[in-house]
C-alpha cells in the first residue's frame, strides 16, 4: 500500500527566502574552499561570519523574474509607441541628442561591463547572501545595457554618431575616460570592485548621473530615454541598498578592514567624480531646456546627501573622501572647463558642440555669478566672433592627458581657477603627469597598475591608431568624418532639424 502523501504546505515568505538564498550554498569537500574561492582573501579584507550578511531586499530569483518581466513589457510598449509616433519630432532641439550620444557611447558599455563583473563577483564571493544579490545585479546591468541600446537605436535612424558606439568605446580618446575607470575597477579584487562600483558610484554618486540625464530627457521631450530611466529606477535603488549593505557588512566584520576601505573610498570617490565631470558639461551646456546647474546638483546630491551619509559612517571610523573638498571648490568651474575641452576638440569627437547663445550665457551667469562673466563668458564671446567670421576655433594640437583619469589636463588649481593644475611623479625613471592631487594619489600607491595606461594621445604618437593624420585616426575610430564631428552649426543633423521644423511651422499656420 502506498503511504498517503502529506498535504503540501505553502512555504512562508521567510522559508522561501531562506531556501532560495542560503539554502543554495554548501561547503565544498572534494576541493578546499580556499581553492574554490581564490579571490576573496588577497585584498586583506577579513570576513569572520558571512551569515551576518543581511539581505536588504528579501528578493528571491523566482519573484525577481516576474517583476523584471513586467517592467520589460511596459518599457517595450512605450518604445514601440515612441517609434510609431515619430517621437523624435517632439524633442526641444536636435542639439539635445548630443547628450544622448555621450550616454550611449560612454555609459551603456559600462552597464555591460558591470553585468560581466557582477557575474564574476557572484561566482567568487564565498558568502551566499551577497552572491545572490550580485547575481541579480548582474542580470539588471545586462538588462540596462540592452534597453538603452534598443531605446536609443530609434535615434540612430535619423541622427549621426550613434552607429558604432561599441567600437568607439575601445578607441575614441574621450571614451578612454569611462573605459579606463571601469577597467581599473574590474582588475581589482572583488571587494575593491564592490566599494568602487556599488558604494562609491552607485550609492554616493549615481544620483549625479541618472537624475540629471533622466530629468534632462524629460525636460527636452525625450520620452524614450525617460522610459528606460524609469524602468531602471527600481533596480538602481536596489543597487544603492546593496552598496550600503556591502559597506556596513565589511566595516562590521573586522576593524582591520576600516583603513583598507577608507583608501578605496578616497580613490573611487575621486575617480567617479572625475568621470562625472562629463555630466557637468551635459547639464550646463548641452540641454536646450535646462534642469538645474551642476553646482546646484553637486550641492543637493553630494554636499547634502553625502554629508549625511559620511556623518552616519563616522561611528565606524570612516571619514569623508579625502578630496571631496576639492570637488566642492571645483563646482563653479567644472562644467566650463570640460565644455572648453570638447569645444577645442569637437573635430575629433563623435558628437557636436556649438556656440552658446546669449540667453544661455545669461542663464550661466545667473547660476555662476562669481565665475561665469569674469572667466568664461569672454572666451565664449571670442569663439562666437571667430565662428561668425568663418574661423571656428579648433585646437590644432593634441592635449596633454592625465595618466589616471585620462581627461585632457584642463582642470585648474583648487585655489586658483585661472591656472591649470599640473602634478607629476617619477616612477622607475619615467615621468607621469596628473590633473589633480586626487589623480596623483590614485597612482602613487599602485604605480605598476597605471604605467599601463592606454593614453590615446600617446597611442596616436606611437602609431597605433590608424595613422599620423587626424583623418586617419578618425577613420580608425569609425567616425563618419564631416558628419558626426565638427560644430553643430551647419552639420547634416542641424540642416535636417531646421528642415523638419520649417515643415512643422507651415503646417500649423
Amino acid at each position: 500500500m502506498n503511504a498517503p502523501t502529506p498535504p503540501r504546505r505553502k512555504l512562508s515568505l521567510k522559508q522561501r527566502h531562506a531556501l532560495l538564498t542560503r539554502g543554495l550554498g554548501w561547503d565544498t569537500t572534494y576541493q578546499p574552499m580556499d581553492k574554490v574561492f581564490p579571490y576573496d582573501r588577497f585584498e586583506g579584507i577579513r570576513i569572520h561570519d558571512w551569515d551576518a550578511w543581511e539581505d536588504p531586499f528579501r528578493l528571491t530569483m523566482d519573484s525577481y523574474w516576474k517583476i523584471q518581466a513586467e517592467k520589460e513589457r511596459k518599457l517595450y510598449a512605450v518604445i514601440d509607441s515612441f517609434a510609431q509616433n515619430n517621437g523624435q519630432f517632439g524633442l526641444t532641439d536636435a542639439r539635445y541628442l548630443n547628450a544622448v550620444k555621450l550616454f550611449l557611447q560612454g555609459v551603456t558599455p559600462l552597464e555591460y561591463m558591470a553585468h560581466r563583473h557582477f557575474a564574476h563577483v557572484a561566482r567568487h564571493l564565498r558568502g551566499v547572501g551577497p552572491r545572490v544579490a550580485a547575481q541579480m545585479q548582474s542580470i539588471d546591468e545586462l538588462r540596462h545595457a540592452q534597453t538603452q541600446i534598443h531605446t536609443i537605436s530609434h535615434y540612430n535612424k535619423y541622427f549621426d554618431g550613434f552607429h558604432d558606439w561599441r567600437h568607439m568605446y575601445d578607441r575614441v580618446w574621450y571614451l578612454s575616460v569611462p573605459k579606463s575607470f571601469f577597467e581599473d575597477a574590474v582588475t581589482a579584487g572583488p571587494f575593491e570592485f564592490l566599494i568602487a562600483v556599488s558604494f562609491a558610484f552607485e550609492y554616493v554618486l549615481t544620483n549625479l548621473l541618472f537624475v540629471p540625464f533622466m530629468s534632462g530627457a524629460a525636460y527636452n521631450g525625450d520620452l524614450a530615454t525617460v522610459t528606460f530611466g524609469f524602468s531602471a529606477q527600481s533596480d538602481e535603488s536596489r543597487h544603492m541598498t546593496f552598496g550600503l549593505e556591502v559597506m556596513k557588512f565589511l566595516l562590521e566584520q573586522d576593524e582591520a578592514n576600516v583603513p583598507i576601505i577608507q583608501r578605496w573610498i578616497d580613490k573611487w570617490f575621486w575617480r567617479g567624480y572625475r568621470l562625472l565631470s562629463l555630466v557637468s558639461m551635459m547639464m550646463d551646456y548641452m540641454l536646450p531646456k535646462k534642469v538645474m546647474s551642476w553646482a546646484e546638483a553637486w550641492e543637493m546630491y553630494y554636499e547634502e546627501s553625502g554629508g549625511a551619509l559620511f556623518a552616519d559612517l563616522a561611528r565606524y571610523g570612516i571619514r569623508p573622501p579625502k578630496h571631496a573638498g576639492v570637488a566642492t571648490k571645483e563646482k563653479t568651474r567644472l562644467s566650463h572647463e570640460v565644455w572648453c575641452i570638447f569645444y577645442n576638440y569637437t573635430h575629433a569627437a563623435a558628437f557636436h558642440t556649438w556656440d552658446v547663445d546669449t540667453e544661455h550665457k545669461d542663464w550661466l551667469a545667473q547660476k555662476y555669478p562669481d565665475t561665469f562673466d569674469r572667466l568664461y563668458r569672454p572666451r565664449l564671446d571670442l569663439w562666437a566672433e571667430q565662428a561668425a567670421s568663418g574661423q571656428r576655433f579648433y585646437n590644432n594640437a593634441l592635449p596633454q592627458l592625465c595618466t589616471t583619469c585620462q581627461i585632457p589636463m584642463g582642470f585648474t588649481e583648487p585655489d586658483d581657477p585661472t591656472t591649470i593644475c599640473f602634478r607629476n611623479t617619477e616612477f622607475a625613471g619615467e615621468r607621469y603627469h596628473f590633473c589633480s592631487d586626487g589623480c596623483k594619489d590614485v597612482f602613487d600607491p599602485e604605480p605598476q597598475k597605471y604605467v599601463q595606461s592606454w593614453l590615446p594621445v600617446h597611442q596616436i604618437f606611437q602609431g597605433h591608431c590608424g595613422g599620423a593624420g587626424m583623418e586617419d585616426v578618425l577613420r580608425w575610430y569609425n567616425l563618419n568624418v564631416g558628419v558626426d564631428n565638427m560644430d553643430y552649426a551647419g552639420s547634416p543633423e542641424h540642416r535636417q532639424w531646421v528642415d523638419w521644423m520649417r515643415g512643422r511651422r507651415i503646417a500649423a499656420e
Binding site: R379, M409, Q462
Partner: protein, 119 residues
C-alpha cells in the same frame, strides 16, 4: 608600494621613450590663455633646435588668439619641469635638459587673455 594582486605584478611602462620612434614627447603650455583647454603634447626629435618650437610649431597652434601676435619673446619667462628655465633657441632641445615627457610652461607678461579673463 606595490599593487594588491594575486601574484607577481610587473609590467613595462606603455609610454617608454623607446616606443616613440626616436621622438620624445614634450608638453607645452601658454599660461593665462585657458581658451586653449590644456597643455599641448608633441612628439619631437631631441635634436630639433628650440627655436623651431617658437617659429614653426606654436604659431600654428596658438596663432588664432588675438594675444599671440603681441608677445614680446624677450619678456617671456619659462619653467621646465617646475624649475626656472632660459631656453637657447639655437641649441637642440635634448641638449638643454628637455627630456621625454617634460613639461614647458611659459608666461607672457602683460597678456592676460581676452578681456583679462586669462582665456
Amino acid at each position: 608600494m606595490s599593487v594588491t594582486a594575486i601574484g607577481d605584478y610587473r609590467f613595462a611602462p606603455r609610454d617608454a621613450q623607446a616606443n616613440f620612434h626616436g621622438n620624445i614627447v614634450v608638453y607645452l603650455h601658454w599660461e593665462g590663455h585657458n581658451s586653449f583647454c590644456a597643455a599641448l603634447a608633441f612628439p619631437l626629435p631631441p635634436d630639433m633646435p628650440f627655436g623651431a618650437i617658437l617659429s614653426d610649431l606654436l604659431p600654428t597652434c596658438y596663432g588664432s588668439h588675438p594675444d599671440w601676435a603681441k608677445i614680446d619673446w624677450n619678456a617671456a619667462t619659462w619653467t621646465l619641469d617646475g624649475a626656472p628655465f632660459t631656453p637657447d633657441p639655437a641649441r637642440a632641445i635634448g641638449a638643454q635638459g628637455i627630456g621625454h615627457k617634460s613639461l614647458l610652461r611659459f608666461w607672457t607678461p602683460g597678456l592676460d587673455g581676452v578681456g583679462g579673463s586669462r582665456s
